[in-house]
Amino acid sequence: MSDHAQDAGFHSNEEFVTFLIAEQLFGVPVLQVQDVLRTHRITRIPLAPPEIAGSLNLRGRIVTAIDVRRRLGLEPCDQENCMSIVTENEGELYSLIVDSVGEVLALNREELEENPATLDSTFKNYSAGIYRLNDQLLVVLDVERLLDYGQRRVA
């Protein structure tokens, strides 16, 4: 798990940026989020894995855009209307393309539940746990796992 998660262990509350992918509510810890972008000009990267949408220039830094839908094994998103969440991982910036970004929620860490055993394996791989909100469920996206291509290649 990330350092942030451990740090957050001291407080009972952790804040999450929520977003929707295919109607499903997801969240990433707000501390991992650098930016939220609307559509941005993306340069395609030939021969790259399909879920890598391309790269973009964010204030002079090159950001690799990941289509989270594809990474989760879903249909690719409609590039026109989607948004993205920029996060830093091992010194590199990544832009996670999602359907739409919602509000920031403060959630009690103690309420985090483990993934249901029957969850689809792709989802289970990238989910750090589930929160039961009043009206729906929130999947905590494990960004490090999502971006860990080395591990995936070995697997």
């Binding site: 000009r41 340069t43 395609r44 990267i45 030939p46 021969l47 790259a48 894995p49 890598i52 391309g54 790269s55 973009l56 220039n57 002079g60 090159i62 690799t64 091992e90 590199e92 990544y94 971006l147 291509y149 080395g150």
Partner: protein, 962 residues
């Protein structure tokens, strides 16, 4: 860490590496007083600073060393190898302590009494009288220790460098202060007095502590050395002569150096790196602004932007300059390494360094430091012979290793050469075979040069035993990988018995490169300018047209065929509006280049790229201008894409990928040096082995039976506009490349039309060309050329199965003869005479003749193996091949046919194999000479019938005899 302590560590580490070099120099010039006082001063400074900072252990070691040096300086001791070894040991100990100090910020526990005693004993003992008997054990002990010291020195040096890197320049008031405050041994009292006197003279009053002291240092040096040079007459009792001139020059230099030191400041490298990054960003932003300006005709921003442009360029240059360091910095520890090595190995080695002041980017410098050290070690360990062996080989006892660096274009060239034994080809072969890198048979077809390259292969290490010196598990392959990583190349040449030379070519800087921006498949890419040779615009209306051979695009460029790769296809990019990208999808275009369809006016650009010795054309849709780009590494998840070397942000703010021409070459099958070798080897092997596959051009002409010609015979495929064809003397000719080219129809009855395009196969030899008119080019097939049915029909060699179909193999010679009756003096059609498969070796340097004779001889029932030179043939011989008969050309470069025949007859294996000479010269004198050297027969090159007859005859005699 305490700032003061950190600076102490940094400065001392620098002093130590300087000392290493100086002491080695001193050993060579024991009476160089100037050098000696400089060494003394450096050690003294270290000692003084230690005292100031409260580091007793360091201080006592340095003090003991200084003691010995002091006596040497005063002429009480001589500079002997053991004195030097002892002092070096002392420095190593200091380094060791320093290292611990850097880690723990405190002196480590331990006792240096033994070393100090040794030093003191030497200072005492050596000082009174020379005691050779006492020296012997010291030497032995020191030899042992120097081995250990060398090991430690190595690690010390690396860690010390770690500190140096943090701060490249030296000036430090505290240390100078400390230096002045330090209590020296007795003799320093005088020096201090002199110094005070000097400062008194210079300033005329007691100066405030800080600033004037700096200026005093150079001043005090002068009086300090003077009494010493006076003491030289006493030292002159020692064998070597004093060098007053050198020492005087040294004085000036030193004064100058000190004042230069005062003009520089210490800057943390991180600060420089940040500055560089920011300058790079500024360059990008400037590019962006200029881009905007370009779109606006009149703008009040134009003038200020121009100025900004200018300033940014200057700034960029300035910042780059701060990153530049003389390559000598990477060489600094080499003299010491060589000295230790020569003692350890018992060799006498001289290290010559040329062009140490050549500057290159710090980052590059760091990356080449280790490979350089490794190669110098290699030269010393494996390259140079033992003194006895050298003398036996007629060389000087001492070997020389030369390091040279210089600028060439945008590159730095570094050469490491030695005058040692050179690479041992047999050892390389044996090793490669033992390590499973190649087989004996593979080597048969390789030149020495190619075999030498095997040392760059992973899993290869030349030393039979891994020595302490160079066998560290890193081989030349690692060296090569490291150098290629920074966009450099490495070449090796070696002559047995003469020495080895390694040439490294590396870019000046990695940070900012000039790149050509191109577009393919609606995406833009950057190609580093360094690998771009030229741009060619190709369309059906220009002289350059992209043609296809079996779907593979090629471009004719100045008499050669350039392999092409379509960038959009390579990148698997589909342009958004479908078939916009030309040459995409093959079905239609496959024919178009030859079918005469004139519909394709699409313009293409071909970027001709040079990768090592290999050039290649990259087809792109559009070419924009060149831009200075800042290379940024790609995200880790994209690192496995070998086609890209990085990415960057262009002036308009968009991100583009930077193409790696090496990667493209590799991806298209043409591979870098080592692999290329394998490739060539395969090719060569294919040519070697009889019935190896031959590429053939299959076409349709006369009737429906496919016709085939070995592809290598064909110079070009042409489309001739029939309206330009003229009829001269009943034969067709066309003006082609400024000459008249005869057009020959395979069907003599055939009449050419008046208009339209006609496919023609062009055959060329030297300055003559002939066009063979064909209906349609079908394909290029790689297959075994085994003519199964001989043909009695003129113009055909026979019929073979090519690509599963019965195909007529065209006798090119017949048609060449029709075009130029003197092309060969041909006597009727060849009638195949299938006999027993007789193994025949054909040696001819002309590619053309080899390819022409091969099918002919093959048809005549011989099992043909070709060699392009006498050397290659002899290698086959050595590799254990045997033949029934050899046919050799006479006029060949390097070894001509006569020499070749002599060599064959003089050695055992092939001495009895009959040889038939082929020559254009058939004067009686030539014939006689041929017979004298051992040719069994001598045939005119153009007389193919005579050749076949001679072969039959010679073999008949042979068989009769046997």
């Amino acid at each position: 860490m305490d700032d003061l302590l950190r600076e102490f560590v940094t400065e001392t580490a620098e002093s130590l590496s300087e000392l290493d070099g100086q002491i080695v120099k001193l050993e060579q010039n024991p009476n160089d007083q100037d050098l000696l006082s400089n060494i003394f001063r450096l050690v003294h400074t270290i000692k003084g600073t230690c005292g100031f900072l409260g580091l007793p252990r360091l201080e006592s070691v340095a003090h003991a060393g200084e003691n010995v040096l002091g006596k040497v300086r005063d002429g009480e001791l001589e500079v002997t190898p053991q004195a030097v070894t002892l002092i070096l040991q002392c420095l190593d100990r200091i380094r060791e302590l320093l290292d611990a100090l850097e880690e723990t910020e405190a002196e480590p526990e331990g006792n240096d009494q033994e070393l100090i005693d040794q030093l003191n004993a030497f200072a005492e003992g050596g000082g009174a009288t020379e005691m050779p008997s006492a020296e012997a054990p010291v030497e032995m002990a020191s030899a042992e220790m120097s081995a250990i010291a060398a090991e430690q020195g190595e690690t010390m040096a690396t860690s010390a460098e770690g500190v140096i890197e943090e701060a490249p320049e030296v000036t430090m008031d505290e240390l100078e202060l400390a230096f002045l405050n330090a209590k020296g041994p007795e003799e320093l009292a005088a020096e201090a007095a002199a110094m005070e006197a000097a400062s008194g003279v210079v300033t005329g009053s007691t100066p405030p502590v800080d600033q004037p002291l700096e200026t005093q240092v150079p001043e005090t040096q002068v009086p300090e050395t003077k009494p010493e040079s006076q003491s030289e007459p006493q030292v002159a009792a020692a064998p070597a002569k004093p060098k007053p001139a050198a020492s005087a020059g040294g004085d000036n230099k030193k004064v100058k150096k000190d004042s230069v030191a005062n003009q520089s400041i210490r800057v943390n490298v991180d600060v420089l790196e940040d500055l560089m990054t920011m300058a790079s960003e500024l360059v990008l932003t400037r590019n962006q602004l200029l881009q905007i300006l370009r779109d606006q005709k009149e703008s009040e921003f134009a003038a200020p932007l121009q100025r900004l442009n200018y300033v940014v360029s200057e700034l960029q240059e300035g910042v780059m300059a701060t990153r530049m360091q003389p390559i000598g910095n990477a060489w600094a520890k080499l003299p010491r390494i060589i000295r230790d090595l020569s003692h350890e190995l018992g060799k006498s080695i001289e290290l010559v360094m040329q062009g140490a002041e050549t500057e290159l980017d710090r980052q590059v410098l760091e990356l080449i430091k280790d490979p350089l050290t490794h190669m110098v070690r290699n030269s010393a360990d494996h390259g140079l012979e033992m003194p006895a062996d050298r003398v036996a080989a007629g060389k000087d006892e001492g070997g020389t290793i030369t390091l040279a660096a210089y600028h060439e274009g945008g590159h730095i060239i570094i050469q490491i050469s030695d005058d040692g034994r050179g690479l041992n080809i047999d050892a390389i072969k044996a090793k490669s075979v033992a390590n499973g890198l190649a087989t004996e048979a593979d080597f048969a077809s390789l030149s020495e040069q190619q075999i030498q390259q095997f040392i760059f292969k992973p899993g290869f290490s030349t030393a039979t035993e891994v020595t302490a010196v160079s066998g560290r598990g890193v081989g030349m392959d690692v060296v090569r990988t490291n150098i290629e990583k920074i966009g450099g190349t490495i070449e090796l040449s070696s002559q047995q018995g003469q020495g080895t030379q390694v040439t490294i070519k590396i870019p000046l800087t990695l940070a900012i490169v000039s790149a050509l921006i191109v577009e393919a498949g609606a995406e833009r890419f950057a190609i580093p300018q360094l690998s771009v040779v030229e741009l060619v615009r190709a369309s059906s209306r220009t002289e350059h047209t992209v043609e296809r051979i079996n779907g593979t695009p090629v471009l004719r460029l100045r008499n050669r065929l350039l392999p092409l790769v379509n960038l959009a296809e390579l990148m698997e990019l589909k342009s958004p509006n479908g078939a916009d990208t030309p040459l995409e999808g093959s079905g239609e275009e496959e024919h178009h280049a030859l079918s005469g369809e004139d519909g394709d006016d699409k313009e293409l650009f071909v970027v001709v790229a040079q990768i090592g010795a290999y050039s290649m054309g990259i087809i792109v849709d559009r070419v924009f201008d060149t831009e200075e780009i800042v290379v940024k590494p790609v995200a880790p998840i994209l690192r496995n894409l070998q086609l890209f070397s990085g990415n960057t942000i262009l002036g308009d703010g968009s991100v583009v990928m930077i193409l790696d021409p090496n990667g493209i070459a590799a991806a298209t099958g043409e591979i870098n040096m080592a692999n290329d070798l394998t490739n060539k080897k395969d090719e060569a092997a294919n040519q070697m082995v009889s019935h190896g596959k031959v590429s053939m051009l299959v076409f349709r002409a006369v009737d429906e039976t496919p016709k085939a010609v070995p592809l290598e015979l064909i110079a070009r495929l042409e489309e001739i506009d029939l309206s330009t064809v003229e009829n001269s003397n009943g034969s067709y000719v066309v003006q082609y490349r400024g000459q008249l080219m005869p057009l020959i129809c395979m069907d003599p009855e055939k009449q050419l039309g008046d208009s339209g395009l006609q496919s023609v196969l062009v055959f060329s030899d030297q300055d003559r060309s002939m066009g063979l008119v064909v209906e349609e080019v079908i394909d290029i097939v790689e297959d075994h050329l085994a003519v199964e049915i001989g043909s009695a029909c003129e113009g055909y060699l026979g019929t073979a199965v090519v690509d599963g179909k019965a195909t007529d193999i065209v006798d090119t010679g017949y048609f060449l003869n029709q075009a130029f009756s003197d092309w060969f003096d041909r006597v009727g059609a060849s009638s195949g005479e299938p006999g027993g498969r007789t193994r025949l070796l054909l040696v001819d340097d002309s590619h053309f003749f080899r390819n022409m004779l091969r099918p002919l001889l093959s048809v005549a029932g011989y099992d043909v193996v070709t060699a392009e030179s006498a050397d290659q043939a002899l290698r086959l011989c050595n590799a254990g091949e045997s033949f029934d008969i050899i046919v050799s050309d006479i006029e060949m470069p390097d070894t001509n046919g006569f020499e070749f025949a002599q060599q064959i007859k003089n050695q055992r294996r092939w001495a009895n194999t009959p040889i038939v000479a082929l020559s254009a010269f058939t004067s009686p004198a030539d014939l006689q000479k041929g017979r004298d050297v051992g040719f069994d027969d001598y045939v005119a090159k153009n007389d193919r019938e005579a050749l076949l007859a001679a072969l039959r005859e010679t073999l008949g005699e042979q068989r009769g005899a046997a």
